[in-house]
């Protein structure tokens, strides 16, 4: 019973997907509009059940030890549901989605993405890890190519599929190596066996291959090429979802894997010398990857002329920052920091995309030149956009600042004993890249809020856009409120290590 109770969110969500499919088939064109709301209700239910499961110190193996329900899983479940809800609510008023029609399809895909995120985030076995990843990716491909008649969207979908297919292949190849070396699919057993294996380069091959798979999913440089095109090509609401939920799941999955394989943390001195060598190799590799990601992400964003592409590169840079938190984890505080950063990022990033979508509703694109003068057309949407973007910049007193401040603090805690190690340099890179990135964010702000309009105002431009504003309002409110969210961080810490 306990098992079913802990797996209930996933089970319910599967049921909801089946129901939505049936509803989609049965309902005609007129009633199809209700399906997103059905999705919202079921996600609310699932997140409520997940909240109920969130007891301090929760840690339980599921389905014969291939999944695991712990605090991280619970938080990811809730956040993924939240991301889904925001996207569904926003999609009901989005002109882009309206023109496409078939709101039922979108609902099913969103529910599927959330389910995939949940499965991936709680995987503790190579097999379930792979299945979760594929689940997530397949739904993602469909979400990317949602605008069937648009050339850009088809290109985006295809690019995503091709890159994703190759990355999955590489990852499975690496997993098979790892299985061959350690004789197990279970991550904690792999961890034990690794600790007695000498840290030879033979071992590094599977780690690099699996790392590449993760790096693709998290859009880390140099596996990021698909992401700006995808976020630009797909509907903005999908982009809001695709920049947040898979990232959430990816980091949770990575964290689980790391925690099981290296139970003391990368940088701890416990464990055998051999596993310490492997851990050090992996840690420095991931740190370098994070540095590269932040540098390339921040610098490339400078030359973009589309707001969505700037946000895409910002999400790449952010992924680099979050990767640092994974590398440097040493206690509950680091996990709490990563989770809070993810929460802050989720709201600010979703909010920014939703605001762009709302601005798009009167027929303008998201190119910076087309955004100019948006201030005169929709002042409140621009205010929301500016707040969300400034939160992404990490300016106090917004959520992004508290997140970045707290995350850097925990990274520095583990960097300090290493005396001038790579990690300390990486924290400096975080800050330098956030200055550079701030420049690009500011171009969005300047285009919307400062520049005089270059587009001729038409009558209907002054009308309120049809968007139901609640999703955007919620995101903006949280982007502000979480700036004072230190109780949330403390709560996370208390739950993780009671």
């Amino acid at each position: 019973m306990q098992l079913v109770a802990n797996f209930l969110p996933e089970l319910l969500l599967s049921l909801a997907i089946l129901l939505a499919l049936t509803l989609e088939m049965l309902s005609g064109k007129r009633h199809g509009r209700a399906i997103p709301w059905f999705g919202v209700v079921s996600l609310l239910l699932v997140s409520w059940i997940s909240v109920r499961r969130a007891v301090p110190g929760l840690d339980m193996a599921l389905l014969g030890e291939v999944q695991r329900a712990d605090f991280l899983t619970v938080v990811v479940r809730i956040l993924a549901c939240l991301g889904g809800i925001l996207a569904l609510v926003a999609s009901t008023g989005s002109r882009e989605m309206e023109e496409r029609g078939k709101p039922g399809e979108f609902t099913i895909l969103v529910l599927g993405l959330v389910l995939g995120a949940m499965l991936f985030a709680s995987a503790t076995n190579l097999l379930t890890l792979y299945v979760g990843l594929e689940f997530l990716s397949l739904v993602g491909y469909a979400l990317a190519g949602l605008k069937v008649h648009s050339k850009g969207a088809s290109e985006a979908g295809l690019k995503y599929v091709l890159f994703g297919g190759i990355a999955s292949g590489i990852m499975v190849f690496g997993m098979s190596h790892l299985f061959g070396l350690t004789g197990s699919l279970d991550l904690s057993v792999i961890g034990q066996n690794l600790s007695i294996l000498p840290g030879t380069p033979v071992l590094w091959v599977p780690l690099i291959l699996i790392g590449a798979g993760f790096a693709y999913k998290l859009a880390l440089v140099p596996f990021h090429f698909w992401s700006p095109d995808v976020y630009e090509g797909c509907p903005t609401v999908s982009a809001a979802l695709l920049t947040t939920v898979p990232k959430l799941a990816g980091f949770a999955g990575l964290w689980h894997a790391m925690m099981l394989v290296f139970p003391g943390g990368f940088l701890s001195t416990q464990g055998s010398l051999a596993s310490a060598q492997t851990a050090l190799f992996l840690a420095s590799g991931l740190t370098l990857l994070a540095i590269l990601t932040m540098v390339v992400g921040a610098l490339t964003a400078l030359s973009q002329s589309d707001a969505r592409r700037i946000l895409a590169f910002s999400s790449i840079t952010n992924a680099g920052v979050m990767l640092l938190a994974v590398v440097s984890w040493h206690d509950g505080a680091s996990l709490a920091a990563l989770l809070f950063y993810l929460v802050a990022y989720l709201f600010a990033n979703t909010g920014a995309f939703l605001a762009l979508d709302a601005l798009q509703n009167d027929g303008h694109g998201t190119k910076l030149s087309e955004l100019s003068g948006a201030w005169q057309r929709h002042p409140w949407i621009v205010v929301a956009l500016v707040i969300c973007v400034l939160s992404l910049v990490g300016l106090p007193p917004l959520a992004g600042f508290l997140g970045k401040w707290n995350l850097l603090r925990t990274v520095l805690v583990s960097a300090i004993p290493l005396e001038g190690g790579l990690l300390a340099i990486a924290t400096l890179v975080v800050l330098a890249s956030s200055v550079v990135l701030a420049f690009s964010y500011l171009r969005i702000v300047r285009a919307c809020a400062v520049a005089e309009t270059t587009v001729e105002l038409e009558e209907n431009d002054y009308e309120a856009s049809g968007e139901s504003p609640w999703a955007l309002i919620l995101c903006t409110a949280f982007a502000i409120a979480l700036g004072f969210g230190w109780p949330v961080i403390e709560l996370f810490q208390k739950w993780i290590s009671p």
Binding site: L395, N406, R409, I416, L428, L431, A432, V435, V450, I489
Partner: protein, 576 residues
């Protein structure tokens, strides 16, 4: 609690005002202006009250101070306080804010947004002056960034895009350095805190007494180590009577600036990224604040920002925002790292003198009035740096005095340029001439502002510059950098030539603008100062004259503070 409420007023009132303004429809311009003026009057009232106290009954230490812990595990606390330095600067910022609001009454473009942003800017700068927690300090520091960016970018001149971006980039880079060093210092404190030994004089100078009659230093319990090795709470009366030699306090790991001040020795024993932590942190703090001052060669954003910004924003920028950099030096960089500050003192003094002379020479060559005043600001702020670097009591007092008098003087000059711009719609120096005949009141104020800026006796500018130069003549701080003890005498001498240069560019400007024949006949029609302009100019004129003739209130508010810092540095150097 009452302390906190009163001090919070200085930033809560403008923030509340900013939110309230957003709710008022754009068309009620008069109400918006009146409300903005009203909400900026509240911090000014607090500032005047605090300054009055500091100047009359003050003997050093904090006038008001309190803190509440927000999150012990994260080390966050809401810690506010005002001492002589804060009180003086709050007074300055209150006056300048009111003047800036008055000077903005001519704004007609998006009035509501303009005044809201201006109020948020005030909240940020007032907050910095009362924050005693590093995180809080940083939050207020960053709070100023965005309003300033928008104020330049939306209401600025022709090249506002470039100027606002440059401003943002420089200040953002500076504040990111603050973030790095703040986190590093926090992490470098042991997780359970650190026990620090203090000398008797150090305890006496910062001691307060709790209910049981035991001594406390910065809210921390003081313990005394007696000859048998027992540790007990130190009773305040015993310390005053001279019992006990070695005292200890246990400093927890947090972001409290007053606690950090006790840890100066600890920082010098740590290292970060292969550097001595104290050196690393001092350099980062120095750079972060130097951008704001601005210290040569980080000043290049300032002329652009000034030229493009609307008059009122220039007034705030020169009047208060530049002071924040020096305030950061005084509140954080110098007290936390006294030994490093002394070791780099020679270099910092040189930087100050370069700014004084070089910017004055640059001002001589300017054709735009605002650029000219901007360079004169850089030059005058160099005196603040020189005085600080000299580390003598009169040097530090002079540096703070100069901050105040330059705040008033530069605001005056920018307002006057604004007066001209409103009439002529250009700011070219050679585009004016012979205004004295038709604008006598304007010419009088202009001459007075110029004289104060030059440092003519009986003007506040004179007291500031004289005290700084005096302080650097007295200083032997060159030895700490391994230089000749006469270093600062030479620096003071060169700085004095800056005064001559400033006389050159300011008097020449006044002559070209106000005197001579009327070169542009249409300028004969210009009206003299309007009532609103008089309201914003005359209070500043009064302050300049008041503190020029009677500098005592300022000196008694700032004197104990300077003495405290000088002693702190001296005892730190002695303890090495």
């Amino acid at each position: 609690m009452t302390d906190l409420c009163l001090l919070s007023l200085v930033f809560v009132a403008p923030l509340a005002g900013a939110l309230l303004l957003l709710l008022i429809p754009e068309r009620f311009e008069r109400i918006i202006r009146a409300l903005a003026l009203g909400f900026s009057a509240i911090p000014m009232a607090v500032g005047i009250g605090l300054f009055w106290q500091a100047a009359s009954v003050h003997r050093g230490g904090f006038l008001l101070r309190d803190s509440i812990s927000l999150s012990p595990s994260l080390g966050l606390s809401f810690h506010l306080g005002a001492d002589g330095l804060s009180a003086t600067l709050l007074f300055l910022s209150g006056v300048i804010s009111m003047v800036a609001i008055l000077a903005s009454f001519g704004i007609t473009k998006q009035v509501r947004g303009y005044f809201s942003l201006l109020l948020v800017l005030f909240a940020g700068m007032n907050g910095v002056f009362v924050a005693l927690d590093m995180v809080l300090f940083y939050v207020f520091w960053e709070l100023m960034l965005i309003p300033m960016f928008f104020l330049i970018a939306i209401w600025g001149g022709e090249q506002r895009r470039y100027a606002s971006m440059k401003f943002f980039f420089y200040t953002m880079a500076g504040s990111i350095m603050l973030l790095v060093v703040m986190l590093t210092l926090h992490i470098k404190t042991p997780i359970d805190g650190l026990t620090v030994s203090l000398s008797r004089t150090a305890v006496l100078s910062e001691m307060s007494v709790d209910r049981e009659g035991n001594a406390r230093v910065q809210d921390l319990a003081v313990t005394v180590l007696d000859s048998s090795g027992d540790i007990s709470r130190a009773s305040a009366s015993a310390i005053v009577q001279g019992k006990g030699q070695v005292f200890q306090v246990h400093v927890p790991r947090d972001f409290n600036l007053l606690h950090w001040r006790l840890l100066w020795k600890h920082w010098t024993t740590q290292s970060f990224l292969g550097m001595n932590l104290a050196v690393f942190a001092f350099l980062f703090f120095f750079l972060a604040f130097a951008v704001k001052v601005p210290v040569f060669p980080l000043h290049t954003w300032l002329p652009h920002a000034h030229v493009q910004a609307p008059t009122a924003v220039s007034v705030v920028l020169a009047g208060v925002l530049l002071k924040l950099g020096v305030y950061g030096f005084l509140r954080i960089a110098w007290p936390l790292f006294p030994t490093v500050a002394a070791a780099f003192g020679g270099w910092i003094g040189v930087l100050g003198v370069i700014a004084i002379v070089w910017a004055a020479l640059a001002a001589l060559g300017q054709k735009d009035l605002k650029r000219l005043v901007a360079y004169s600001s850089v030059s005058h702020m160099g005196f603040c740096l020189l005085g600080l670097a000299a580390l003598t009591v009169s040097g530090i007092t002079g540096s703070m005095f100069q901050m105040f008098s330059h705040g008033i003087g530069a605001a005056l000059l920018f307002l006057l340029v604004g007066v001209l711009y409103d009439r002529a719609h250009h700011r070219r120096v050679d585009g004016f001439g012979g205004l004295a005949a038709t604008m006598p009141a304007f010419t009088a104020v202009l001459m007075l502002a110029a004289f104060s800026s030059i440092g003519l006796p009986s003007m506040s500018g004179f007291v500031g510059e004289l005290t700084v130069i005096l302080g650097s003549f007295q200083s032997r701080a060159g030895v700490f950098a391994g230089w000749s003890p006469d270093t600062f005498r030479w620096l003071g001498l060169v700085a004095a030539t800056g005064v001559i240069l400033s006389a050159a560019y300011l008097l020449w400007t006044v002559q070209r603008v106000a005197f001579g024949p009327l070169r542009h006949p249409e300028q004969g029609q210009y009206p003299d100062l309007t009532l609103r302009e008089k309201f914003s100019l005359y209070p500043l004129v009064a302050l300049t004259l008041l503190f020029g003739i009677w500098p005592q209130p300022l000196l008694s508010a700032l004197g104990p503070w300077a003495q405290g810092l000088s002693q702190h540095v001296a005892s730190a150097l002695g303890a090495l």
